[in-house]
């Protein structure tokens, strides 16, 4: 059973009287441990695709099976549960809670699955150590650099042992050097922990870190091939 299996996915947005087709007939399979880069120009449907993969949005048509579960049949709260346990999000703008320490930001996903406070603390510390932020537990986001904030976000994505990380332009706000460091972190997570990583990017040198590249254009996948190393 594939980790992610998408069949004839379709997404139509209704904007007033106009129907806007964001995704059309998208079928794709992602296996455990893959590292996929999703590329394409603005409006090509890659963000819509990521939102559906992340269970933040529901497709208009087609099926999305996550570990064999038909996500389209789940209600709002069941989707929240899937997001909590199966998926870690990393965003371009980091999306950390302001005025909240790094440790507490990382603890956040565990607040929603009933883990005891002691375990939360231990796991959050371990996750921060994992991304190289030992000693920064009490720093607030505004006391951290962009790269460090993105590391906190990655720690938050990892802390519930989610098998998938969905990253939406994770290096979009970072300089080249920091971008490379973040990408190396993703590569390490993929290599060592076999975490499946799907990331959206505009830049081909970022996509080069991945093992497989999908290109979107006008709501369809136009190419899907392994990256030559």
């Amino acid at each position: 059973m594939a980790l992610i299996e998408v069949q004839q996915l379709r997404k139509v947005y209704r904007l007033g009287d106009i129907d806007l087709t964001a995704l059309e007939n998208v079928s794709v399979t992602v296996e455990r441990g893959e590292f996929v880069a999703v590329m394409g120009p603005s409006g090509s449907g890659k963000s819509t695709f990521m939102n559906i993969l992340g269970c933040l949005d529901k497709p208009t048509g087609g099926r999305y099976l996550l570990e064999g579960i038909d996500v389209g049949r789940l209600d709002r709260d069941e989707l929240a549960g899937i997001r909590n346990k199966k998926i870690g999000f990393v965003f371009q703008g980091f999306n950390l809670l302001p005025r909240t320490s790094a440790l507490e930001n990382v603890e956040l996903p565990m607040l929603y699955n009933g883990l005891p406070a002691g375990d939360r603390y231990e796991r959050a510390r371990a996750a921060l150590k994992n991304v190289g932020l030992e000693g920064r537990e009490d720093h607030h986001p505004n006391q951290l650099s962009g790269g460090q904030q993105q590391r906190v976000a990655i720690a938050r994505a990892l802390v519930n042992d989610a098998p998938i990380i969905l990253a939406d332009e994770p290096t979009g706000n970072l300089d080249t050097k920091t971008s490379a460091e973040i990408m190396e972190l993703f590569t390490a997570l993929n290599d060592e922990k076999h975490i499946t990583i799907i990331l959206v990017t505009h830049e081909s040198d970022i996509a080069a870190f991945s093992k497989r590249t999908m290109r979107f254009l006008d709501g369809r996948i136009v190419s899907d091939e392994a990256v030559k190393k």
Binding site: R83, K85, F89, L108, P109, L111, G114, R156
Partner: protein, 409 residues
């Protein structure tokens, strides 16, 4: 599954981050709860004072006053004519079935001397039933008896104020006092009753047998005449019947024709006081209701702030939803924030209300009674305000679409 302790933690942290705003929002509830408690305390104090006056007066009490004299067409006030007699009192006792006790009184102000001390006080001649009529107990000694009244013995019961003035800490029972130079033996001390509804000191009095008063102290040209007759009805329900029976009996005894006015007045003081007590209760309710309005306004303040907070934190809500917060996680977070605001405000409000009540009674001298019920009620009410006014913002937050919330700038 909702993790309650961590939801509390999330809510408290949000309130801590906006300290000034939280404090100002609470202020509405603090003022509301404080006002309810203080207003109800003032009202309850007033009605307790009246209730105390009613019970000090004696329950189910009727007072019969003689009628007014008419001198050359000028009508004088009630009591200026002496129309009531010992015979009337005895007849009321015998012939009015709704009446339990009758106490005729005759008295006046007299100088009282004991040793080297003297005091001017009201001396009332009455019968042994007076103590029953007025629900009056003795703290020392014995009451005077029917025998004392019949034989006009020179015995006296002293009010606490008289005891304090003439004897200080000494035991007055068995001592001799002189009233208008007539020696009396003190046989008992009346239990303190405090102030009457009119502010008179009810303990500044001496009771002696009515016959003694007539013969030795306040004799008039009409023997057997009394100043007023106090009557205790058998029960509160019997009061109107007693009033009617007494009126009929006295009209008959005084030979008053069909078209003539009474030459006496029957006053139902209990009824009067109860009406006052009722109106005080209404006032308490009104004060409480007005104060509750401020509590309501405080609640609307909470809702206002919570709505602002939800809008401001749309992105935070989006992040929380993305990482797994369920509908009720988000709702509870905001409801708990609202409840926390209102409950902490409520607790501070209780202290403010109690302090205000104490300050009011010490500054203006109003009696205030802080009732635990009003504390409990306003505290509970403030909690309800939190839930009620917190729910809508929380509900609104929980309905946000996570994608839109995440993109919110």
């Amino acid at each position: 599954m909702i993790n309650i302790p961590s939801t509390f933690k999330i809510s408290f942290r949000a309130l801590r981050v906006n300290k000034m705003r939280s404090a100002l929002t609470m202020l509405g509830i603090i003022i509301g709860v404080g006002a309810v408690i203080a207003m109800v305390a003032v009202g309850a104090g007033a009605s307790r004072q009246i209730a105390a006056q009613i019970s000090s007066m004696g329950s189910n009490l009727l007072i019969i006053l003689p009628g007014a004299t008419t001198a050359g067409g000028v009508r004088m006030g009630a009591g200026t004519q002496s129309t009531l007699t010992m015979g009337d009192a005895e007849a009321i006792q015998k012939e009015c079935p709704a009446v339990a006790f009758v106490a005729p009184t005759l008295g006046g102000v007299a100088q009282v001397v004991s040793g080297h001390l003297n005091w001017s006080t009201g001396v009332s001649g009455t019968t042994a039933d007076m103590l029953e009529v007025r629900d009056w107990d003795l703290t020392a000694g014995r009451p005077f008896t029917q025998q004392d009244v019949m034989s006009a013995t020179k015995v006296a019961l002293l009010g606490q104020t008289v005891v304090d003035s003439l004897f200080g800490d000494q035991d007055p029972v068995g001592q001799t006092i002189r009233i208008k130079n007539v020696p009396f033996t003190v046989i008992g001390v009346l239990a303190p009753k405090g102030q009457s509804a009119q502010g008179q000191d009810q303990d500044d009095t001496i009771l002696i047998p009515v016959t003694t008063a007539q013969k030795k102290l306040f004799g008039t040209q009409f023997p057997g005449m009394v100043r007023i007759i106090m009557v205790k009805a058998k029960s509160a329900e019997d009061l109107p019947a007693a009033e009617k029976q007494i009126t009929e009996l006295l009209r008959q005894r005084h030979r008053i024709g069909q078209k003539q006015d009474n030459d006496f007045t029957v006053r139902n003081l209990t009824q009067l006081m109860q009406a006052r007590e009722e109106s005080t209760k209404v006032m308490t309710l009104l004060l409480g209701a007005i104060a509750s309005v401020s509590l309501l306004v405080g609640g609307i303040g909470i809702m206002n702030i919570m709505l602002v907070s939800v809008t401001e934190r749309t992105r935070e809500i989006g992040i929380r939803m993305a990482i797994g917060a369920k509908t009720w996680d988000i709702r509870l977070q905001f409801i708990i924030e609202a409840i926390t605001l209102s409950l902490i405000g409520g607790i501070i409000g209780i202290f403010v209300g109690v302090a205000a009540s104490l300050a009011l009674s010490s500054v203006s001298g109003w009696p205030t009674v802080i009732s635990p019920l009003s504390i409990l009620l306003s505290f509970g009410f403030s909690g309800m305000v939190g839930i009620f006014f917190g729910f809508y913002p929380a509900y609104k937050a929980s309905l946000l679409n996570p994608i839109d919330a995440l993109r919110y700038e």
